[in-house]
């Protein structure tokens, strides 16, 4: 994911060389793109984005400075304006992460993590193998419940503590835990910043994650535990030997004490429950998609900060990693430039050109590209750049398998190298500090690559098997995609789009849509102006839909329905939308 020394200890010459490579490669990418497929604004966006990727690789400690400068370049080259910056910076994702970090701080204070560790060290009939499997599962599930970095900090401390007692080198056991943590982080949207970002961008609910991602994560976890257990079988045997020798002398791994856990467990369950039930609450209250999901951690942390008011400032100032969050915010905004400048469309068309629109090719391709990319570059950068491309691809194919492929690739790919994820870096830092143990790049790569490969194969097979059962969701379409000028074909695609209704339409006879059963209206672009008109058909049986369209009075509506392509009958507009719903809450000014 990023360079371990981050540029702080570099000599001047080395620093300048890396800086020159970073800027040079970025400019070269922009110039080559500009001379071939991109215009000036697109070329600037690509150049800055490429520089940031290299910047995080070469100068991890300067990543925020590079992001600030990159943003300035984008603004000055008209590639991004302030309004677009604010729109793309995914403040909702940042606030979600802030809320989760505050809750993690409170959970630590309340003894929740102490309780987990205490349960593991004092479990009955403990053996070496049992300890390793339970620790692996706990690190993955804790990553699901809170986040991967929190999980690995607490689980690593547990491993250090136990290895101190058993006089063992903790390195192999920490590696097993980290690999499982990265796998676990794909299970829910709380596990990894990319999870919530993908969830927000793809309109995925907590339920979607639990239905599709979580079971596949469990399978991948089982494969990772199995392969790491086999790979480190000698170390596991040694662990068991030392443990049994200690137990034979009636010595335990830690003091047996009752750690109070109820408050912490209640807080965690309340948060997870609030997040899990977001879809129902949004439906009851008529709120926009994922709005409750994003504010649930904030609401829970708000309650925490009132109850534990003496610690509130500590949570906000010390437990929230503002540095990383600011970096993410800028990264999202810079990645958003790729969307604003339509680089994503070009990338998506190239992608579709290479892979076609078959899931059998797209899924493994996305998995492999994101996994390999995330092994060296921050997975958030990769996902931020890929999301608009998936959005583009989703207008033609069923999008769920693609989103899951992106999620699994980004999370599992972090296992490949020792710099592949923040959890790896944190764990290795702890290992170096606590046990003075160094892990070599290739030492990690052997087991990291093996486990990531296996997990990706499991995910691939799982996605291919589940793909027929995944719903073809309503994809967010831009109005202009439906016009004949766009040259796109979306026949049979479930879609959502924003448009204005400009009045009733009189259409020629359309096969499959008898005039007696449907009312026709004209739509116009949501931005106003006189763009090309697109027809929408409303079943007469749904009087309330007709009434809403008639009463719309040129306001912007959120329309949901199925797109039909009729090149022969509708040569001017090409597409037709058969309306299924207009959510009142989705009507925006």
């Amino acid at each position: 994911m990023h360079g371990e020394e981050g540029g702080m200890q570099l000599g001047v010459r080395q620093l300048l060389t890396r800086l020159a490579v970073m800027v040079g490669a970025g400019v070269a990418a922009g110039v080559i793109g500009g001379c071939t497929v991109f215009d000036v604004r697109q070329a600037a966006a690509v150049a800055v984005f490429f520089s940031i990727i290299l910047g995080t690789l070469f100068f991890w400690n300067f990543r925020l400075a590079i992001a600030f400068l990159g943003l300035s370049v984008l603004i000055c080259t008209h590639s991004l304006n302030i309004q677009q910056f604010v729109q793309s910076s995914a403040l909702e994702v940042i606030l979600f992460l802030v809320g989760m970090m505050i809750i993690v701080g409170a959970l630590r204070d309340l003894g929740f993590f102490s309780w987990i560790v205490q349960c593991i060290v004092s479990m009955p009939n403990i053996s070496g193998g049992k300890f390793i499997v339970v620790t692996s599962a706990a690190s993955a599930l804790l990553a699901c419940a809170v986040d991967e970095v929190t999980s690995i900090i607490f689980i690593s401390t547990l491993i250090f503590q136990v290895c101190d007692r058993l006089k063992l080198n903790p390195t192999p056991y920490v590696i097993i835990a980290v690999l499982c943590t990265n796998i676990g982080s794909a299970g829910t949207m709380m596990g990894n910043p990319v999870g919530i970002y993908i969830g927000t961008k793809g309109g995925l609910t907590f339920g979607d994650f639990m239905t599709w991602a979580f079971p596949l994560m469990l399978l991948a976890l089982a494969s990772t535990v199995a392969v790491t257990y086999w790979y480190f079988r000698r170390e596991v045997a040694l662990f068991n030997e030392h443990l049994q020798a200690r137990l034979a002398r009636n010595l335990s791994l830690a003091s047996t004490v009752d750690v109070p856990y109820v408050q912490g467990l209640v807080l965690l369950l309340a948060t997870v429950l609030a997040i899990a039930s977001h879809h129902q609450i949004e439906s009851w209250l008529g709120l926009g998609k994922n709005s409750v999901l994003l504010i649930a951690p904030l609401a829970c942390s708000g309650v925490v900060m009132i109850i534990r008011r003496d610690r509130a400032r500590h949570y906000v100032e010390r437990d929230v990693d503002w540095w990383t969050l600011l970096f993410f915010m800028l990264l999202f905004a810079i990645a958003g430039t790729l969307e604003h400048t339509h680089v994503d469309r070009i990338m998506a068309s190239r992608f579709a050109g290479i892979c076609g629109t078959e899931h059998a090719v797209l899924v493994p391709f996305i998995l492999a590209v994101t996994a390999l990319g995330s092994a060296f570059v921050d997975n958030v950068i990769f996902v931020a750049a890929f999301c608009p491309v998936i959005e583009q691809l989703a207008v033609n194919v069923k999008d769920l398998p693609l989103w899951w492929a992106l999620l699994f690739g980004a999370c599992f790919g972090g296992n490949i190298t020792m710099i592949g994820s923040t959890a790896n870096i944190v764990a290795l830092g702890m290992l170096e500090k606590r046990a003075h143990a160094q892990v070599g790049f290739f030492q990690w790569l052997k087991i990291g690559f093996l486990s990531a490969l296996l997990a990706c194969v499991v995910a691939w097979a799982g996605l291919m098997l589940l793909e027929p059962w995944m719903p073809d969701r309503h994809v967010q379409l831009k109005y202009e995609y439906l016009t004949a000028d766009s040259g796109k074909v979306f026949h049979g695609k479930n879609a959502e789009l924003k448009a204005r209704c400009t009045g009733r339409a009189s259409l020629p006879s359309l096969p499959g849509f008898p005039a007696a059963e449907y009312e026709a209206f004209w739509l116009s672009p949501p931005s106003g102006g006189r763009g090309p008109a697109v027809p929408v058909l409303v079943p007469k049986a749904h009087r309330e839909l007709t009434a809403t369209l008639e009463a719309a009075d040129d306001t912007v509506l959120a329309l949901r329905g199925k797109v039909h392509t009729m090149a022969a009958e509708l040569p001017d507009s090409l597409h037709l939308l058969v309306l299924e719903a207009v959510s009142p809450a989705a009507v925006e000014e």
Partner: protein
């Protein structure tokens, strides 16, 4: 501050040696030795020097070997070290009842801004006495100052250029044995007053260290420290298991195998750095065979440099 340490042969003249100290008590002996130095330095304030030597003697008695005392003091107005040697065949009461009467007294006065000089001079002197085990007896029998000067300053022993760990370490420290129980370690800590002790194996090889902080950590593991409120443990519940098993648990089970150790020859200033950078209060000193030679505690280190 003195850059090159002066050697005894340059510092000690026959005028600074008395082979017949008449005093029978410590104060009288110190006054006699100071009187020898008065003609050597213009404006020498013997009374101030006397007070400084006695004040220091009250806190840190300086009878370093049977029959040998090295009273010393640092004087702010002094610009060079001064030495005076007194022989008392009848013996002087240096107010240390556990030691025999002092028969050889070496007074060392050093400039106030040189913290290590008196220790360097002491190190040079120690080398002479180490080489000749009956040095005190032989000196006590000498009746001519030139004979005393030749014995102390005429040899090959030099005042070292700088202080080393060997000059500052405490050699008489209790040790723990790895096969012993934690219970015995608790007892040793309680009676010795040391915060950290070396652990040796049956062959007297150094195996690790154990500190009272390690025992505390054993009782209260790190995962319990994550909790902000320790009210569930107000009655020290986590300690009970450690105490219950203290008789069964071997020191080898809980000792730290990674610790700071330095060679006897390490310059003392490096020790100061190690204390500060590693935030430790004690450093193990090993000899050339990597065996335990002694321990330098930060307290002793500072006491010797700042106060003694």
């Amino acid at each position: 501050m003195t850059r090159q340490p002066p050697q005894y042969r340059n510092m000690l003249s026959d005028r600074q040696i008395s082979c017949h100290l008449s005093a029978s008590d410590r104060d009288g002996a110190v006054r006699e030795l100071l009187a020898l130095l008065e003609p050597e330095v213009n404006g020498f304030d013997a009374e101030t020097a006397f007070r400084a030597v006695i004040d220091r003697e009250e806190v840190f008695p300086t009878v370093i070997a049977p029959g040998l005392a090295v009273p010393h003091a640092r004087l702010p107005d002094l610009d060079r070290p001064l030495l005076a040697v007194g022989i008392a065949p009848e013996g002087i009461d240096f107010q240390q009842p556990e030691m025999p009467p002092v028969r050889v007294a070496v007074l060392i006065l050093t400039p106030g801004d040189d913290p290590g000089l008196h220790l360097q001079l002491l190190s040079g002197l120690t080398a002479v006495f180490k080489e000749t085990p009956d040095a005190v007896e032989r000196l006590a029998r000498m009746r001519a100052p030139e004979e005393v000067r030749e014995f102390l300053a005429g040899g090959r022993h030099l005042v070292p250029d700088f202080l080393t760990a060997r000059d500052l370490m405490d050699r008489k420290i209790p040790v723990l044995r790895e096969e012993d129980s934690v219970q015995s370690a608790i007892h040793t800590f309680a009676v010795s007053g040391f915060g950290e002790l070396p652990v040796l194996d049956r062959e007297d090889d150094l195996r690790g260290v154990l500190s009272i902080a390690d025992l505390l950590q054993l009782s209260l593991p790190e995962h319990l420290l994550w909790m902000e409120d320790l009210s569930p443990f107000y009655r020290f519940q986590p300690f009970s298991e450690m105490l219950r098993n203290a008789g069964e648990t071997k020191i080898a089970d809980v000792m730290r195998e990674e610790y700071l150790k330095v060679s006897e020859r390490m310059p003392a200033i490096q020790l100061a750095k190690l204390f500060l950078v590693n935030k430790v209060l004690q450093i193990i000193v090993v000899d050339d065979r990597d065996r335990l030679a002694g321990v330098v505690t930060m307290r002793d280190f500072c006491a010797k440099l700042f106060w003694e």
